[in-house]
Symmetry: C3
Subunit: 202 residues, 3 copies
């Protein structure tokens, strides 16, 4: 939560596989209302990404062949101080989905060049307690071990491959290296929270 | 939860800004199945509010220029004892949205005249732990302090205006005075639960 | 969770009352990716049930006049190891809803003949903490008492019929015998979790 850097790796993983012309409405925006961030539409290889230019789009932009970033200059009649998702980004997303978007004012996207291509940290904990990292699993050897918060994880292809209650890592359905417990809640293991470093060990 | 009085102030705040002809399907109904409440459609300034006449609609009615309350006389083929939202109010809401609603049997709405125009209590705690009051923030001086459950809150325009972990009050995106903690969970402060009195201090 | 047997009784209860031609997309699939289960479409009295043949459909099949089980032979271009709900069952459900489904390869459904017609256990705990059993309440005398995990429950028609905080059982809106507390959280009573035996006492 409140973490545009973690979000950047999730957006890159979750947006794969959608048909061209898809619109992604992305609002992890802890600075909402502060004026610190430019509201943008980022076009990447035929898809639209709508939200604040706070790093969320760094990785999707880096991995795209073609990108174009436009400032959103439209303003709603009433703009609340704290909910630009509703007031600004949702109507712009609807416009992208129906009429397309021709932002006349191209802007230089803010770059976060020190962010790695893959983030060796927990970036998200889902409803079931599975802890996703920002690492693309295809870049990790399947027989590697993973350490996180002093816990060790061997790999398995699916939940059913390990006994109930056993922790493991696997390539999740979005291609990220994920820490999980079969029929359990991985994030209840001490230290498995967003930002925790993930170490791959050969 | 289970509180038609708190709900009345939320409905009034959340229904603002919708286009005319909107249908609000409102079922906070702890007395469901008891026969204690009349099922109604309330028309207020061109919008429809559907649900039990248990006080939920007191504030929206009070603030409207024109209101009309009709008893729902239609009965579904099967009416469960505990889920009139599904069996009765949802189909009627769908009818309001598609064909309109001409309730032939107008009824006198139950009045809750002792309820204030603005409720100086916590009326809702959202997913993030933000605690909304029933006070319209536009009626409160922006430099006022607020007390709730022995905690004191200064005002801030947005979350980003205070340090991480700091509690404050602000005018939320629905116009209500809300107690929050930047990147934290206000309702974990002892006593910040629904019904707790909120005191505005000049 | 992770329990196809409990799910079987829920599917049978929740699918009642839908119009003919409805599609039920049912994926409680702890063995996903293991190859242990056949992906099927079950047609029951004009409705479609889509998911793994792991027992989920045992009760709906048993109660139907006409059933037909077909293996899903279609494969998506990319099938993740852990999310067949998204990759396989969702597109097939969409096809059932739009074009119908003519599975050419009929299969013998896996039978779970030792499962009872009604399951005297907690099968689900909802968001409010109400604990549903797998017993159809119409088969239980309304003046019966129910025991579960050493707690005793008298019957009531609705929540409003008992004082706030009182535990009771009732026929829920899907026809199941459910344990609840008026304006409380039944599943916080020790032992009231999925799988706990439910005893009906005359």
């Amino acid at each position: 939560m409140w973490n545009p850097k973690s979000t950047a790796y999730l957006i890159a993983a979750y947006s794969a596989g959608f048909p061209q012309g898809s619109v992604f409405f992305c609002v992890v925006d802890p600075d909402v209302g502060s004026g610190a961030r430019t509201p943008v539409v980022v076009q990447c290889d035929g898809n639209y990404f709508v939200g604040p230019d706070n790093g969320q789009f760094e990785i999707i932009r880096r991995r795209a062949a073609q990108t174009r970033t436009s400032r959103i200059t439209w303003q709603p009649k009433e703009l609340s101080a704290s909910f630009h998702g509703r007031d600004l980004y949702a109507p712009i997303s609807a416009r992208c989905a129906t009429a397309g978007f021709d932002g006349l004012e191209l802007v230089e996207a803010t770059r976060f060049e020190d962010w790695p291509d893959d983030l060796a940290e927990i970036v998200y904990v889902d409803h079931y307690g599975n802890a996703m990292s920002g690492l693309r699993a295809e870049l990790v050897a399947r027989d590697a071990h993973v350490n996180c918060a002093a816990h060790q994880f061997a790999s398995a292809a699916t939940f059913a491959k390990v006994p109930r209650g056993t922790a493991f890592w696997y390539c999740n359905s979005n291609g990220l290296l994920e820490l999980a417990v079969n029929q359990g809640h991985a994030a209840q293991m001490p230290g498995l929270s967003i930002g925790a470093p993930v170490h791959v060990i050969r």
